[in-house]
Symmetry: C4
Subunit: 266 residues, 4 copies
């Protein structure tokens, strides 16, 4: 082998080694912070055009060693590694095939966000500006039996335009330009769910007005090029500011509207 090719291989394997270490580190964080328990969840990273590095089935993500990971091609065929690939591998590959700029995918079961997913509720209201600016809406992919193509069928229409998606009756999946970004988005989704749950207990969140959302979108267009601006379909309501009375504001949420209907039906 010519010397420059050997040096290239050494460089490549060094990058791969770093990626393996990175998956183990974020796996530990995911487990310690309670975003998964037991052997739940999986993490993957794109190594190059054809190869994906990902976590094996049935292992605690808090205790992975770099050599436990597998490499597959974009169809899911195992190229190296001793274990079985995660039963959710096809979900990861869906992101890599559809989105060339995505280099990492994270799947977990954070308890509060999964509570929303189990209740069949998306996180799609414009409540926190930083969520709107980074993630737009967080939609709910319809239920599919885990480990089957049903999961991908529900996800497919959503993958192109969203970086974080709730999986009905199941959990959450996030992606990003690198593993840190995908992982941090998982933390962010769970935190948003916690904030929203508290706000609902207190009478419902204040919704950002259409003008406020537009300002955030404009700022975002300048900073974020990886995602098209049109991907965000927020319920652009009239200015919440115009409805300062708490009673009036609360009537504007889907919840209180529903409650009002039930009350009237008695």
């Amino acid at each position: 082998m010519p010397q420059f090719l050997a040096a290239f291989e050494v460089g490549q394997s060094k990058v791969e080694e770093e990626r393996r270490q990175q998956i183990c580190r974020f796996g530990r964080w995911m487990y310690r912070r309670g975003l998964v328990v037991a052997c739940q969840g999986n993490l993957s990273v794109r190594l190059d055009e054809d190869r994906i590095l990902l976590t094996p089935a049935g292992a605690c993500k808090g205790r992975l060693a770099p050599e436990d990971l597998l490499i597959t091609d974009l169809s899911g065929a195992v190229l190296s590694g001793a274990g079985e690939p995660s039963s959710e591998t096809q979900m990861h590959l869906l992101f890599y095939r559809e989105r060339p700029e995505v280099h990492a995918v994270c799947h977990a079961h954070p308890p509060t966000a999964t509570g929303f997913a189990a209740a069949g509720r998306a996180l799609d209201q414009p409540v926190l500006p930083e969520i709107v600016a980074d993630l737009g809406t967080i939609p709910l992919a319809p239920y599919g039996t885990p480990g089957t193509w049903e999961v991908c069928a529900g996800l497919e229409p959503l993958v192109a335009e969203h970086d974080a998606i709730l999986l009905e009756s199941h959990g959450v999946v996030t992606c990003g330009k690198d593993l840190a970004t995908a992982y941090y988005r998982m933390e962010t989704v769970e935190q948003f769910a916690k904030i929203l749950l508290t706000a609902r207990t207190l009478g419902g969140p204040r919704l950002l007005s259409s003008r406020e959302v537009e300002k955030l979108m404009a700022a975002k267009a300048g900073r974020w090029t990886a995602r098209p601006q049109g991907s965000v379909e927020l319920p652009l309501e009239a200015d919440a500011r115009a409805y300062a009375a708490p009673g009036a504001r609360r009537e504007r949420t889907p919840f209180s509207r529903h409650r009002a209907q039930r009350r009237n039906a008695r």
Copy 2:
């Protein structure tokens, strides 16, 4: 002693030493993750046909040393160890006597799942596919005074067909083919309780339909041989999909049905 027997003994004591280390490690995890506080909970492992290794009474499970553990036979008589065995020893032995394939038992008081147990509510609705596939239902064993045979009387009819059981007004017990499995099931029960509590706050969880549950059971039959398929008695309701309107769906849960009765009774 012939040499091969000495070698056998050395091998056996090495296995025992590993089991002791393992109980101490999962004890620390159990305490650090808040599944127990103070001196609550206990862990045990089957050493061989006649001997069980288990945690002593009245010690913090987060600070055990390998030499603190006791060995008893299947009747509970202490074979070695200085302390007193846990007052819940008989609960552990019940699993070992009834289920030859069970090699570890874990008892804890995780706060959310114990909240369900204190409210007298089982975790028996088909909400998350991974819970259905691994644990089926999580039933509620009726209350018995701790440390008496009443606890076992309530558990006995449930032990054969369940790997995780709520103990009314008390806590949770799980078992498995090894300690990691039993421990991870404890984490999973608490996470499920958290998810369910959130989903209830948001209007109630979406229930899996009978067809969805059957698919999971079929897949499970292939993967899990340790537990008979018939052990799972899920409330197989008609397809939830057919009841997409949130009001209609909610009427199908036992809670809302109860609430409706009270409303009508006014």
Copy 3:
């Protein structure tokens, strides 16, 4: 000094050193587990008949060094140590003066139990057998301005017969025969509050019947001699078992009774 007295002094100072280390360790635990934040809470240990070792005012309990602690007599006069004693010192001394068998006191602000204290609600229902057997009831001491004698005035009638007490609009205080016991009781109170909050969200806890409570008291009488049996004033209701229907059971809790009154008053 004769040699045996010197040896005694060395032994005594070794015990004191161990006590200092112990307070620092449980201070770290208290902070890391979220039982206090910032510079809240305090810990103390009885060194001998006249001397109490306790934490200084205004320090984070998660970052104490052994030399930060103070020694006072039973009136609160500082015998050694550079800082100012905690403003809650008199609360600690009250326990040491009234209860010769108490050797440690722990005060903290665990968020859920303090939520009960801020709502003016005691933790006095017989819900979990292990709480009944160890702590009996956890009463609510009426509010007093912190750092004044008002706090002690509210506590005084309760100290003789309780090992854990809620302080209205303030926090929790626990005591024990050693620091581990007092600290573990603080963890246990917070866990009980979490369990009770969850159970209330689910329709209310199942209450232990008078017969069930009596059984626990009888068992306790044999194991615990430090506390008189009569100290526990549990609301001994008729057998909850006789009220199996959830509606009926719920009517028996003070909450639902109150709710029923409000409903009738409409």
Copy 4:
């Protein structure tokens, strides 16, 4: 350079080095305790009259190195450091310009307190004496698009008289005479929000009476000189003691009053 000036510079750079270490340490605490996730939040410290040391934009605060930090002047111009300053820099500078005694500012998104901020609710009821004595009220600054002057416009009227402020639909900002004080106040705000949420679930918190609040203010005047006494605008209600019946007490909270109005409107 004369020797004494060199010694002064060495001393100064040693202080700066300590401040850098301190920001990294409290950044780790902030992240580990869940007061921020992902790359949220920022911390700053006053180095001298003209220079502020602060965290860079877009970095995880749990993984900062001392050399990642930036130094700006009071207008926000970068004096040293490679990264971009936080988009919230102007919020920090507002405190340093308006309050000469403030030497540190902390901004985070603790989930419970941010839930109050997302619901548009201040933490301004006199519930816990230690909150009243240290922070007075915690007001809600009206929403402004993050990273714009709107945020400062909403904060400006509140900065002079408050050490902890909720930012509507966004998060929390605290300040103090040093970084430990500012950080501990962030922990305290989140703990207060948790306690209040629990108390509300249980029927509402007991409010301190005007006499109780006045006593705390009087004690505070003696201990705290940095903040003017008049800064605290508490809703001084009549003695809550006079309203001992739970129903009566609950009618006094804004929540129950609102609920009562809705009930009457049916």
